[in-house]
């Protein structure tokens, strides 16, 4: 019998704990979303563009952005569907590392002030065949007791019939 050379390797699974600070800008955004279901953006006093999410500095004009509530504006939560992607191959959930086998829909929405935002398009039994660019959408929050101060406190965006 032919002798085979062993190619030794070793496996470990390492669980690592992280805890990230949100800071006063994104932290306030997430807290307002969780507590009041309000979706804030902030206007740069330097170049007047809107920043989503709010952050300490405008990256193009380097103006310092004021903290809440100066120049902070709550959006209506309504918008227009621009496009959508059906993710059909098994995806690793970046939050857990687990593989999610079921397909899901991501939509791109044009919110107030022409701001773009990507989130789930729902609900789960949504008929994809009916979707059309330009349909009106609206933000659907999770029930208060399920909110965690995360962007996913928004459950999904749903189509609003005219």
């Amino acid at each position: 019998m032919e002798e085979r050379e062993e190619r030794l390797s070793q496996e470990r699974i390492m669980e690592i704990r992280y805890r990230w600070s949100a800071g006063p800008y994104l932290g306030r955004f997430l807290a307002e979303l969780r507590d009041k279901g309000k979706f804030y953006v902030v206007r740069c006093p330097g170049c007047e563009r809107f920043l989503l999410p709010p952050r300490i500095v405008c990256s193009t004009c380097y103006t310092r952005i004021p903290e809440y509530p100066d120049g902070w504006i709550a959006l209506s939560g309504r918008g227009i569907l621009l496009d959508w992607q059906r993710v059909i191959y098994p995806q690793m959930d970046p939050e857990t590392g687990e593989v999610r086998d079921e397909p899901f829909l991501h939509g791109t929405f044009r919110l107030d002030h022409d701001l773009l935002f990507v989130h789930y398009l729902g609900p789960a039994d949504l008929d994809e065949g009916r979707l059309q660019e330009g349909m009106k959408v609206e933000m659907v929050m999770k029930p208060q007791e399920q909110r965690e101060g995360k962007v996913t406190d928004i459950h999904y965006f749903r189509i609003v019939e005219d």
Partner: protein, 386 residues
Amino acid sequence: MAIRPAIVGVGQTYHRSKRPDVNIGELCTEAVRAALEDAKLPPEKIGAFVVGNMELFEGRYMQDMWQTDFVGAVGKPLIRVTTGGTTGGTLASVAFEHVASGMFDLVMAVGFEKQSEGDTRAGLKTVADPLWNRWQTTGAIGYFARVATFYIKETGAPEDAGSRVRLRLARHAARNPHAHLRMDLESVDQVMKFPYLIPPLRQSDMCPASEGACAIIVASEETARKLPRKPVWVDDWTSVHKEMVYVRGGRHSTADLEMAADRLFRRNGIREPMKDISVAEIYAPATWAELEWLEAYGFCEKGDAWKLEEKGQFHFDGPFPVNPSGGVVCTNPIGATGLIRVAECALQLRGDAGEHQITRKPTRGFSTAWGGSGWTVAHLLSADGL
């Protein structure tokens, strides 16, 4: 530029999805030895080293510490560079800068990746802000599905345009002994049978996860002229960092690609890029990106790349060869990938690319690296005696 740098030696390993026969250090020695042999230089002549790979992928802190022994850098200056997808391109740029500064005469850059040792998808997903949009990242596949969708929508390209690119790259890779995916693809119909990942992006449109390493040796003009290999001159290089993408969706921007190429072409008097440049080795991880980016670099008008592809213009023996090596879609050891673009351009300009040598007279070469959703590194090289 004070000192003119030249590439005087290149080396690559062969590429596979797994190299269980070697560890990381051993993998690097293969590329280092090949580069030294190519330059006909003993290891002690190298004055400084630049090494790199992806952060997180193989799960080792201070990879440069592990690499020092295996690239021959003990007791010598060494810097680790890790700029994500552009790592290999930045490795070359930093080696050029070491020589251009006048501080070093001979510098070696070494890039590698051994993706099977960790989890590339997990590593890549940590690119997004964990407090904002990491939960929704679909990685490179989501990004390039979007590139494909917009390319079709905006240029009227047919759904098989990406498959035509893959067919060209497969033919090139089949001629390149260092390429990873050397598949025998014969027709567009055959490529169109690959399954969708996210429509209209197919499995055949995306790069593989490869293991391998690449090394180049850079010399000052004075030293390069004394060495046996025909030097490949480094005319210019640059990098462009775009604003961080907080909000995905909508039309992705190609501003970084446009700015990088425009800056190099302007500074070097290149007015007709397809005429003035004879070979391009561009870092495009998906077929559709190759089409979109050739337009973004200014090689052709917006919406023309897929038509030129249909006419076979980008083949290695065609009028404007693009990725004669088989490109990133056939070989992607991420931390080495950008460096391979530079090495392959150098081989073409020396006339040493073998089976995949371009038939057009090699004059100038353009190589790029790309990463994240908006960093570009670009280099302009030229053949000796031009």
